[in-house]
Protein backbone atom coordinates (compact mmCIF):
# COMPACT_ATOMS: atom_id res chain seq x y z
CA UNK A 1 0.00 0.00 0.00
CA UNK A 2 1.25 3.46 -0.84
CA UNK A 3 1.89 5.44 2.33
CA UNK A 4 -0.12 8.58 2.93
CA UNK A 5 1.89 11.80 3.16
CA UNK A 6 1.44 14.06 6.19
CA UNK A 7 2.65 17.61 6.77
CA UNK A 8 2.44 19.45 10.09
CA UNK A 9 3.06 22.98 11.31
CA UNK A 10 2.84 25.10 14.42
CA UNK A 11 1.43 28.59 13.81
CA UNK A 12 0.49 30.64 16.91
CA UNK A 13 0.78 27.57 19.12
CA UNK A 14 3.11 26.30 21.84
CA UNK A 15 4.11 22.95 20.28
CA UNK A 16 1.98 21.21 22.88
CA UNK A 17 -0.15 19.64 20.13
CA UNK A 18 2.95 18.26 18.41
CA UNK A 19 4.04 16.89 21.79
CA UNK A 20 0.67 15.23 22.14
CA UNK A 21 1.11 13.62 18.71
CA UNK A 22 4.42 12.17 19.90
CA UNK A 23 2.64 11.08 23.06
CA UNK A 24 0.92 8.23 21.19
CA UNK A 25 3.97 6.30 22.44
CA UNK A 26 4.59 2.94 20.75
CA UNK A 27 1.77 3.60 18.27
CA UNK A 28 4.21 5.92 16.56
CA UNK A 29 5.62 2.70 15.07
CA UNK A 30 2.20 1.84 13.67
CA UNK A 31 1.88 5.38 12.40
CA UNK A 32 5.09 5.28 10.38
CA UNK A 33 3.86 2.08 8.77
CA UNK A 34 0.95 4.13 7.46
CA UNK A 35 2.48 7.52 6.68
CA UNK A 36 5.50 9.47 5.55
CA UNK A 37 6.14 12.99 6.76
CA UNK A 38 6.70 15.88 4.40
CA UNK A 39 7.15 19.48 5.61
CA UNK A 40 7.06 19.29 9.41
CA UNK A 41 9.01 20.39 12.49
CA UNK A 42 9.29 16.68 13.29
CA UNK A 43 11.76 16.08 10.43
CA UNK A 44 12.75 19.77 10.09
CA UNK A 45 11.73 19.87 6.42
CA UNK A 46 11.17 23.59 5.78
CA UNK A 47 9.39 23.41 2.40
CA UNK A 48 6.90 21.14 0.72
CA UNK A 49 8.54 18.56 -1.55
CA UNK A 50 5.27 17.11 -2.92
CA UNK A 51 1.51 17.17 -2.61
CA UNK A 52 0.30 15.86 0.77
CA UNK A 53 -2.75 13.88 1.84
CA UNK A 54 -3.15 15.36 5.30
CA UNK A 55 -2.01 18.63 6.87
CA UNK A 56 -2.11 18.97 10.66
CA UNK A 57 -2.33 22.58 11.82
CA UNK A 58 -1.42 23.56 15.36
CA UNK A 59 -2.06 27.16 16.42
CA UNK A 60 -4.22 29.96 15.08
CA UNK A 61 -3.11 32.95 13.00
CA UNK A 62 -1.60 35.84 14.97
CA UNK A 63 0.66 37.32 12.28
CA UNK A 64 1.15 37.67 8.53
CA UNK A 65 3.52 34.69 8.37
CA UNK A 66 0.96 32.37 9.98
CA UNK A 67 -1.55 33.34 7.30
CA UNK A 68 0.95 32.69 4.52
CA UNK A 69 1.96 29.28 5.90
CA UNK A 70 -1.67 28.28 6.42
CA UNK A 71 -2.61 29.21 2.86
CA UNK A 72 0.41 27.27 1.61
CA UNK A 73 -0.79 24.21 3.57
CA UNK A 74 -4.24 24.53 2.06
CA UNK A 75 -2.66 24.58 -1.37
CA UNK A 76 -0.53 21.48 -0.78
CA UNK A 77 -2.80 19.28 1.38
CA UNK A 78 -5.92 17.42 0.34
CA UNK A 79 -7.25 17.37 3.89
CA UNK A 80 -6.53 20.02 6.54
CA UNK A 81 -7.13 19.37 10.23
CA UNK A 82 -7.20 22.02 12.95
CA UNK A 83 -5.47 20.33 15.88
CA UNK A 84 -6.14 21.89 19.29
CA UNK A 85 -7.93 24.90 20.73
CA UNK A 86 -5.55 27.52 19.26
CA UNK A 87 -6.16 26.34 15.70
CA UNK A 88 -9.88 25.93 16.38
CA UNK A 89 -10.66 29.17 18.23
CA UNK A 90 -7.43 31.12 18.71
CA UNK A 91 -6.81 29.58 22.13
CA UNK A 92 -4.82 31.37 24.80
CA UNK A 93 -3.08 33.73 22.32
CA UNK A 94 -6.57 35.03 21.46
CA UNK A 95 -6.94 36.31 25.02
CA UNK A 96 -5.38 39.44 23.51
CA UNK A 97 -8.24 39.86 21.05
CA UNK A 98 -9.87 42.61 23.09
CA UNK A 99 -6.67 44.53 23.76
CA UNK A 100 -5.30 46.94 21.12
CA UNK A 101 -2.08 45.63 19.51
CA UNK A 102 -0.21 48.79 20.60
CA UNK A 103 -1.04 48.12 24.23
CA UNK A 104 0.07 44.48 23.92
CA UNK A 105 3.43 45.49 22.43
CA UNK A 106 3.98 48.16 25.08
CA UNK A 107 3.23 45.68 27.83
CA UNK A 108 5.55 43.06 26.29
CA UNK A 109 8.50 45.35 25.55
CA UNK A 110 8.20 48.45 27.75
CA UNK A 111 5.99 48.09 30.81
CA UNK A 112 5.66 44.40 31.74
CA UNK A 113 7.30 43.38 35.04
CA UNK A 114 10.08 41.43 33.30
CA UNK A 115 11.06 44.29 30.97
CA UNK A 116 10.26 47.52 32.84
CA UNK A 117 13.51 49.41 33.37
CA UNK A 118 15.52 47.08 31.11
CA UNK A 119 14.62 48.63 27.77
CA UNK A 120 15.95 52.17 28.23
CA UNK A 121 15.90 52.98 24.53
CA UNK A 122 12.21 52.02 24.53
CA UNK A 123 12.61 49.78 21.49
CA UNK A 124 9.68 47.79 20.19
CA UNK A 125 11.00 45.36 17.51
CA UNK A 126 9.88 46.61 14.13
CA UNK A 127 12.27 45.18 11.55
CA UNK A 128 11.00 44.67 7.99
CA UNK A 129 12.00 41.01 8.30
CA UNK A 130 9.53 40.44 11.13
CA UNK A 131 6.02 39.25 10.37
CA UNK A 132 3.35 41.85 11.10
CA UNK A 133 1.04 41.17 14.03
CA UNK A 134 -2.62 40.93 13.07
CA UNK A 135 -5.24 43.00 14.89
CA UNK A 136 -6.59 39.76 16.39
CA UNK A 137 -5.68 36.09 16.60
CA UNK A 138 -7.85 34.25 14.07
CA UNK A 139 -9.10 30.67 14.15
CA UNK A 140 -7.72 28.77 11.12
CA UNK A 141 -11.16 28.22 9.62
CA UNK A 142 -11.57 32.02 9.44
CA UNK A 143 -8.70 32.07 6.93
CA UNK A 144 -8.98 28.84 4.87
CA UNK A 145 -11.34 25.90 4.63
CA UNK A 146 -10.62 23.36 7.37
CA UNK A 147 -11.93 19.82 6.96
CA UNK A 148 -11.78 18.47 10.52
CA UNK A 149 -11.28 19.82 14.04
CA UNK A 150 -9.67 17.95 16.94
CA UNK A 151 -10.37 19.83 20.17
CA UNK A 152 -8.24 19.85 23.32
CA UNK A 153 -5.44 21.83 24.91
CA UNK A 154 -3.69 19.77 23.80
CA UNK A 155 -5.95 17.19 22.14
CA UNK A 156 -5.48 13.84 23.90
CA UNK A 157 -2.89 11.67 22.16
CA UNK A 158 -5.62 9.04 21.82
CA UNK A 159 -7.86 11.48 19.96
CA UNK A 160 -5.14 12.36 17.44
CA UNK A 161 -4.37 8.68 16.92
CA UNK A 162 -8.01 7.56 16.62
CA UNK A 163 -8.78 10.34 14.16
CA UNK A 164 -5.68 9.77 12.02
CA UNK A 165 -6.14 6.01 12.03
CA UNK A 166 -9.79 6.29 10.98
CA UNK A 167 -8.91 8.73 8.24
CA UNK A 168 -5.96 6.71 6.93
CA UNK A 169 -7.88 3.45 6.90
CA UNK A 170 -11.06 5.05 5.61
CA UNK A 171 -13.22 4.06 8.57
CA UNK A 172 -16.05 5.77 10.38
CA UNK A 173 -15.08 7.13 13.77
CA UNK A 174 -17.06 6.99 17.00
CA UNK A 175 -15.19 9.24 19.39
CA UNK A 176 -15.03 7.94 22.97
CA UNK A 177 -16.34 10.46 25.54
CA UNK A 178 -13.04 10.70 27.43
CA UNK A 179 -11.16 11.87 24.37
CA UNK A 180 -13.19 14.93 23.40
CA UNK A 181 -12.12 17.68 25.82
CA UNK A 182 -11.45 21.41 25.49
CA UNK A 183 -8.60 21.61 28.03
Amino acid sequence: MKKAVIATTSLAGCFGCHMSLLDIDAKILDLIELVEFDKSPINDLKTFTRECDIGLIEGGCCNSENVEVLKDFRKHCKILISVGECAIMGGLPALRNNIPVKECLEEAYLNGPSVAGNNEAGIIPNDDELPILLNKVYPCHDIVKIDYHLPGCPPRAGLIWEALYALLTNQKIDLPYELVKYD
Binding site: G90, K181, Y182
Partner: protein
Protein backbone atom coordinates in the same frame (compact mmCIF):
# COMPACT_ATOMS: atom_id res chain seq x y z
CA UNK B 1 -55.49 14.12 45.83
CA UNK B 2 -52.79 14.06 43.18
CA UNK B 3 -54.05 13.24 39.75
CA UNK B 4 -51.88 10.79 37.81
CA UNK B 5 -51.31 11.53 34.16
CA UNK B 6 -50.00 9.18 31.49
CA UNK B 7 -47.88 10.44 28.62
CA UNK B 8 -45.58 8.88 26.06
CA UNK B 9 -41.96 10.00 25.69
CA UNK B 10 -39.98 8.52 22.81
CA UNK B 11 -42.42 5.64 22.68
CA UNK B 12 -42.09 4.89 26.40
CA UNK B 13 -45.17 5.21 28.62
CA UNK B 14 -44.39 7.60 31.49
CA UNK B 15 -46.40 8.72 34.46
CA UNK B 16 -46.47 12.00 36.27
CA UNK B 17 -48.73 14.17 38.37
CA UNK B 18 -51.04 16.89 37.15
CA UNK B 19 -49.23 20.22 37.10
CA UNK B 20 -45.75 18.73 36.78
CA UNK B 21 -43.50 20.04 34.03
CA UNK B 22 -42.49 17.75 31.21
CA UNK B 23 -38.75 18.01 31.91
CA UNK B 24 -39.30 16.82 35.51
CA UNK B 25 -41.58 13.97 34.50
CA UNK B 26 -39.03 12.81 31.92
CA UNK B 27 -36.24 12.88 34.51
CA UNK B 28 -38.31 10.98 37.06
CA UNK B 29 -38.95 8.34 34.41
CA UNK B 30 -35.26 7.96 33.59
CA UNK B 31 -35.24 10.06 30.40
CA UNK B 32 -32.72 12.88 30.21
CA UNK B 33 -33.67 16.08 28.45
CA UNK B 34 -30.70 18.51 28.34
CA UNK B 35 -31.21 21.82 30.21
CA UNK B 36 -29.06 24.78 31.18
CA UNK B 37 -31.19 27.52 32.69
CA UNK B 38 -33.47 25.20 34.62
CA UNK B 39 -33.10 24.76 38.38
CA UNK B 40 -34.81 21.66 39.77
CA UNK B 41 -37.51 22.73 42.21
CA UNK B 42 -37.73 26.35 41.06
CA UNK B 43 -40.16 28.10 38.74
CA UNK B 44 -38.85 27.57 35.17
CA UNK B 45 -37.79 30.46 32.93
CA UNK B 46 -37.46 28.90 29.47
CA UNK B 47 -34.49 31.16 28.79
CA UNK B 48 -31.97 28.87 27.10
CA UNK B 49 -34.40 26.82 24.90
CA UNK B 50 -32.09 23.84 25.18
CA UNK B 51 -34.84 21.55 26.45
CA UNK B 52 -36.90 22.01 23.29
CA UNK B 53 -38.73 18.81 22.30
CA UNK B 54 -41.67 17.98 20.04
CA UNK B 55 -44.95 17.81 21.95
CA UNK B 56 -47.80 16.45 19.86
CA UNK B 57 -45.78 17.50 16.83
CA UNK B 58 -45.01 21.06 18.01
CA UNK B 59 -41.67 22.42 19.23
CA UNK B 60 -41.99 23.35 22.93
CA UNK B 61 -39.60 23.96 25.83
CA UNK B 62 -40.10 21.01 28.15
CA UNK B 63 -39.20 23.01 31.28
CA UNK B 64 -42.24 25.28 30.87
CA UNK B 65 -44.75 22.75 29.50
CA UNK B 66 -47.04 21.09 32.07
CA UNK B 67 -47.95 17.53 31.14
CA UNK B 68 -51.42 16.60 29.97
CA UNK B 69 -53.10 13.23 29.40
CA UNK B 70 -51.98 11.34 26.31
CA UNK B 71 -49.22 13.78 25.39
CA UNK B 72 -46.91 12.40 22.70
CA UNK B 73 -43.36 13.61 23.20
CA UNK B 74 -40.30 13.21 21.02
CA UNK B 75 -36.97 14.17 22.62
CA UNK B 76 -34.52 12.70 20.12
CA UNK B 77 -34.31 13.14 16.37
CA UNK B 78 -31.80 14.44 13.91
CA UNK B 79 -33.70 17.72 13.76
CA UNK B 80 -33.85 18.16 17.55
CA UNK B 81 -30.19 17.26 18.01
CA UNK B 82 -29.27 19.75 15.35
CA UNK B 83 -31.33 22.52 16.98
CA UNK B 84 -29.89 21.73 20.40
CA UNK B 85 -26.31 21.65 19.16
CA UNK B 86 -26.95 24.93 17.37
CA UNK B 87 -27.92 26.61 20.66
CA UNK B 88 -24.82 25.27 22.42
CA UNK B 89 -22.60 26.35 19.55
CA UNK B 90 -24.15 29.84 19.56
CA UNK B 91 -23.22 30.24 23.22
CA UNK B 92 -19.60 29.33 22.53
CA UNK B 93 -19.40 31.66 19.53
CA UNK B 94 -21.19 34.53 21.27
CA UNK B 95 -19.01 34.78 24.40
CA UNK B 96 -15.32 34.41 25.18
CA UNK B 97 -14.94 30.81 26.28
CA UNK B 98 -11.27 30.01 26.76
CA UNK B 99 -11.80 26.67 28.48
CA UNK B 100 -8.09 25.87 29.02
CA UNK B 101 -7.84 29.04 31.16
CA UNK B 102 -11.19 28.69 32.95
CA UNK B 103 -11.42 27.48 36.55
CA UNK B 104 -14.83 25.95 35.86
CA UNK B 105 -13.49 23.70 33.11
CA UNK B 106 -14.38 20.07 33.80
CA UNK B 107 -17.24 21.13 36.08
CA UNK B 108 -18.99 23.42 33.58
CA UNK B 109 -22.44 22.45 32.33
CA UNK B 110 -22.13 24.25 29.00
CA UNK B 111 -18.85 22.51 28.27
CA UNK B 112 -20.28 19.19 29.48
CA UNK B 113 -23.19 19.50 27.04
CA UNK B 114 -20.77 20.18 24.20
CA UNK B 115 -18.81 17.07 25.24
CA UNK B 116 -21.94 14.95 25.46
CA UNK B 117 -22.88 15.90 21.93
CA UNK B 118 -19.23 15.69 20.69
CA UNK B 119 -19.14 19.25 19.39
CA UNK B 120 -15.69 19.93 18.00
CA UNK B 121 -16.25 23.45 16.66
CA UNK B 122 -19.23 25.84 16.49
CA UNK B 123 -20.74 26.31 13.05
CA UNK B 124 -20.90 30.07 13.77
CA UNK B 125 -17.94 32.47 13.63
CA UNK B 126 -16.40 33.39 17.00
CA UNK B 127 -17.38 36.93 17.93
CA UNK B 128 -14.69 37.74 20.52
CA UNK B 129 -16.95 40.37 22.14
CA UNK B 130 -15.50 43.10 24.34
CA UNK B 131 -16.47 42.12 27.89
CA UNK B 132 -15.26 43.01 31.37
CA UNK B 133 -14.52 41.18 34.57
CA UNK B 134 -15.97 42.56 37.83
CA UNK B 135 -13.29 41.93 40.42
CA UNK B 136 -14.36 44.46 43.05
CA UNK B 137 -16.56 42.22 45.17
CA UNK B 138 -15.20 40.85 48.46
CA UNK B 139 -16.03 37.17 47.89
CA UNK B 140 -16.85 36.76 44.20
CA UNK B 141 -15.55 37.48 40.72
CA UNK B 142 -18.11 38.06 37.97
CA UNK B 143 -16.67 37.24 34.56
CA UNK B 144 -18.92 38.64 31.83
CA UNK B 145 -16.90 36.84 29.15
CA UNK B 146 -18.47 33.54 30.15
CA UNK B 147 -21.98 34.56 31.23
CA UNK B 148 -24.67 32.85 29.16
CA UNK B 149 -27.49 35.00 30.62
CA UNK B 150 -29.37 32.01 32.00
CA UNK B 151 -30.64 34.07 34.98
CA UNK B 152 -30.11 31.22 37.41
CA UNK B 153 -28.22 33.59 39.75
CA UNK B 154 -30.95 36.23 39.67
CA UNK B 155 -33.59 33.66 40.52
CA UNK B 156 -31.75 31.71 43.18
CA UNK B 157 -29.48 34.12 45.04
CA UNK B 158 -31.33 36.53 47.34
CA UNK B 159 -30.50 38.29 50.61
CA UNK B 160 -32.49 37.76 53.85
CA UNK B 161 -35.14 40.24 52.77
CA UNK B 162 -35.64 38.40 49.47
CA UNK B 163 -33.85 40.94 47.28
CA UNK B 164 -31.94 39.56 44.27
CA UNK B 165 -28.21 40.17 44.57
CA UNK B 166 -27.71 39.72 40.82
CA UNK B 167 -29.48 41.88 38.24
CA UNK B 168 -29.55 42.74 34.54
CA UNK B 169 -27.63 45.77 33.35
CA UNK B 170 -28.07 47.36 29.90
CA UNK B 171 -30.18 45.93 27.09
CA UNK B 172 -29.99 44.23 23.70
CA UNK B 173 -26.60 42.94 22.62
CA UNK B 174 -24.94 44.80 25.54
CA UNK B 175 -27.04 43.07 28.18
CA UNK B 176 -25.10 41.70 31.14
CA UNK B 177 -25.70 40.39 34.61
CA UNK B 178 -24.00 42.25 37.44
CA UNK B 179 -23.73 41.92 41.19
CA UNK B 180 -25.22 44.67 43.36
CA UNK B 181 -22.19 46.20 45.10
CA UNK B 182 -23.97 47.10 48.34
CA UNK B 183 -25.59 43.69 48.66
CA UNK B 184 -22.46 41.77 47.63
CA UNK B 185 -20.50 43.58 50.37
CA UNK B 186 -22.85 42.00 52.92
CA UNK B 187 -22.91 38.52 51.38
CA UNK B 188 -21.73 35.70 53.65
CA UNK B 189 -19.51 32.82 52.55
CA UNK B 190 -22.35 30.28 52.33
CA UNK B 191 -24.41 32.45 50.01
CA UNK B 192 -21.35 33.28 47.89
CA UNK B 193 -20.59 29.57 47.56
CA UNK B 194 -24.20 28.92 46.56
CA UNK B 195 -23.86 31.56 43.83
CA UNK B 196 -20.73 29.87 42.51
CA UNK B 197 -22.53 26.54 42.41
CA UNK B 198 -25.76 27.82 40.88
CA UNK B 199 -23.89 29.29 37.89
CA UNK B 200 -23.68 26.58 35.21
CA UNK B 201 -20.53 28.14 33.73
CA UNK B 202 -17.46 29.96 35.02
CA UNK B 203 -19.14 33.37 35.18
CA UNK B 204 -19.33 33.48 38.99
CA UNK B 205 -16.13 32.39 40.69
CA UNK B 206 -14.89 32.49 44.27
CA UNK B 207 -12.08 34.96 44.88
CA UNK B 208 -8.57 33.72 45.69
CA UNK B 209 -9.07 30.10 44.73
CA UNK B 210 -8.13 29.31 41.13
CA UNK B 211 -7.79 25.68 39.99
CA UNK B 212 -8.56 23.09 42.63
CA UNK B 213 -9.02 19.60 41.20
CA UNK B 214 -6.62 17.92 38.79
CA UNK B 215 -7.76 16.92 35.30
CA UNK B 216 -9.32 13.48 35.44
CA UNK B 217 -11.03 14.04 38.81
CA UNK B 218 -13.55 16.69 37.80
CA UNK B 219 -17.28 16.18 37.53
CA UNK B 220 -17.56 15.70 33.77
CA UNK B 221 -14.10 14.32 32.97
CA UNK B 222 -15.36 10.75 32.71
CA UNK B 223 -19.12 10.93 33.23
CA UNK B 224 -21.28 12.71 30.67
CA UNK B 225 -23.83 15.22 31.93
CA UNK B 226 -27.29 13.65 32.18
CA UNK B 227 -25.88 10.17 32.74
CA UNK B 228 -27.37 9.95 36.23
CA UNK B 229 -30.83 10.77 34.94
CA UNK B 230 -30.76 8.51 31.92
CA UNK B 231 -29.24 5.51 33.71
CA UNK B 232 -32.03 5.26 36.27
CA UNK B 233 -33.17 1.66 36.00
CA UNK B 234 -36.64 1.79 37.46
CA UNK B 235 -38.99 4.58 36.50
CA UNK B 236 -40.32 6.20 39.66
CA UNK B 237 -43.28 4.20 40.90
CA UNK B 238 -46.27 6.41 41.45
Amino acid sequence: MNQIIKIEIDGQVCMGQKGQYLVDVARENGIYIPTLCNIIGMKPRGACRLCTVRVNGKLMTSCTTPISNGMQVETKSEELDNLRNGIIELMFAEGNHFCPACEKSGNCELQALAYRFRISVPRFPFQFPQRDIEAGHPLLIKDHNRCILCKRCIRAIKDESGKSIFAFTKRGPKVGISIDTTLSAKMDKTLAQKAVEICPVGAILPRAQAFRSPIGTRKYDKTPIGEEESSKKDPVAL
